[in-house]
Amino acid sequence: MVDLRTEIAGVALRNPTMLASGFLDETGGSMARVYQAGAGAVVTKSVGPQPREGYPNPTIVELDAGLLNAVGLPNPGVIEYEHEVKRAQAAGAVVIGSVYGKDADEYAAVAAKMSTYGVQAIELNLSCPHAKGLGTEIAQDEAAVRDFTREVKDVVDIPVFPKLSPNVQDIAKFAVAAEEGGADGIVAINTMKAMAITPELKMPSLANRFGGLSGPAIRPIGVRAVYDICEKVQIPVIGVGGVGSGRDALEYIMAGASAVQVGTAILSRGLGVFNEIAREMASLLEEAGFQSVPEAIGVAHA
């Protein structure tokens, strides 16, 4: 049997699937459930310094090729969130804490606090508006990616994984910036900026008008991003975007990812998706003559 265990910057995973940030991870009970359902790790909802309500509904629209959302980062704030992390950990979950802030100091402060809860790594959600950057996201400004990563690295002693945005010309440059800032790994990709309109109502389908596209639609964009990034950096990469099967996961692994995150596919396949992906990966890897996940990482670059 193929050995599905893998390891990213020292974080050991029983299998290379993780829950993507923003799905069933606002509460400890749900994170525990997802871990028990088979995920190798769970990434928390992105948590900031203060509680945040997010945008008004409609916040989520199902489209034919994916999901469009503008939930607007609702979260109870890092102080209250301790309770949720602890509850997930009590169920044995490997937890990665996703954080955001309005500037580098806030990122560092939230990450430092989060790291005291016993999470195994910090994920930096850089897809937030960047105050200095005139409305661009942090992840659209190379210097900010480098500096924010460095400031967070300075205050925590667990691995730090900046999560990059695909809404850029050349995502690999941002991965290089993150690596320069001391990142221990890269998570790619966050959602694509997108919009749906409901013609019958003559208006955008989301209350926020714009949103982020996830699911099958963005998988080829994510696979390409991971492939590009792996040509430019040495640190491990976690692939995310449209993973819904073992075959999808292997696209990312062979593009160079060490693990994958799964979000939107929970909709179509339920919480069993983590176990199913793991099982499907194992059988495809076996057919292709691999004994373990690390052997398959990046083979499509050959």
Binding site: G22, F23, L24, D25, E26, T27, G29, S30, A32, R33, K45, P51, R52, E53, G54, P56, N57, P58, T59, I60, V61, E62, L63, D64, V71, P74, N75, P76, G77, E80, H83, A196, T198, E200, L201, M203, S205, A207, G263, T264, I266, L267
Partner: protein, 258 residues
């Protein structure tokens, strides 16, 4: 194709001074107790139980906050968006049912009351409201079986809260099961009552929802999701709950008292 259907409102029926039914045709099924996510354009998208399951569906909405107040001004021909139905349904488990509804909670139960009666069960409904004018669906409940009323102010039926009425009915005769929907503390009382008698009980919960489809975690209750595992939970599930009757989540995901 998008999952949202935009439908014109065919008929608008004032049920009580604060509660209105909106009827529309939609290409959707629906079982008793299931809900829709209802988009009130420019205002909000909210979960609403299907109060009418036939060819012409219906939701029955209490004018409560901004969005439902905006909806109260809609007229026939205006359009709303609906998606669903989502969630589980009330299950008939024996020959006789006590249904205990409080306020707009009757909107979630009335389809079950009618369906259970049609399946041959004896259905006794205890309807509660603040005052007589706010009693919801008493005619439909009456037509489906026996109907009893409690009002807080005593303006119709027995004076007091509906769990007290339910207690009397449970003392009077033996039921095979209890179903309930209404304010959460009321439901908690009804669930307790039923469990003390050893009766199976199902309660339909309300939680703030965003997605309605089990991914956003807004509607979490312990390690369950009201939109996906619920909205109907059994007494056994609720007895084990740390949060039922005590905590809900606000829009930011913080635990706050019910």
């Amino acid at each position: 194709m998008p999952r949202i259907q935009v439908v014109p409102l065919l008929e608008i029926v004032r049920e009580t001074p604060t509660t209105t039914t909106y009827r529309f045709r939609g290409d959707l099924g629906g079982k008793p107790g299931q809900f829709l996510m209802v988009w009130i354009p420019r205002y909000d998208e909210l979960p609403m139980a299907l109060s009418h399951l036939g060819a012409v569906k219906g939701i029955t909405v209490r004018d409560y906050g901004d969005a439902t107040h905006a909806l109260a001004a809609f007229t026939a021909g205006d359009r709303i968006g609906v998606r669903g139905p989502y969630g589980n349904a009330f299950q008939l488990e024996g020959p006789s049912v006590l249904a205990v509804g409080g306020g707009s909670g009757m909107a979630s139960m009335i389809a079950a009351i009618e369906a259970f009666a049609q399946q041959g069960a004896r259905v006794v409904t205890a309807v509660g409201a603040r005052t007589a004018a706010e009693l919801l669906f008493v005619e439909r409940a009456n037509a489906a079986g026996e109907m009893h009323i409690a009002t807080d102010d005593g303006s119709r039926g027995s004076a007091g809260f509906v769990p007290t009425l339910a207690e009397k009915l449970l003392a009077r005769e033996s039921f095979a099961q209890v179903i309930t929907c209404g304010p959460e503390r009321m439901m908690a009382a009804v669930v307790d009552l039923a469990r003390q008698k050893g009766l199976p009980v199902q309660a339909s919960l309300e939680r703030y929802m965003k997605c309605g489809i089990g991914i956003c975690d807004a509607c979490a209750l312990d390690d369950k999701l009201v939109c996906w595992d619920g909205p109907i939970f059994t007494g056994d599930q609720l007895a084990k709950s740390e949060e039922f009757g005590r905590y809900r989540r606000d829009k930011s995901g913080r635990r706050v008292p019910v």
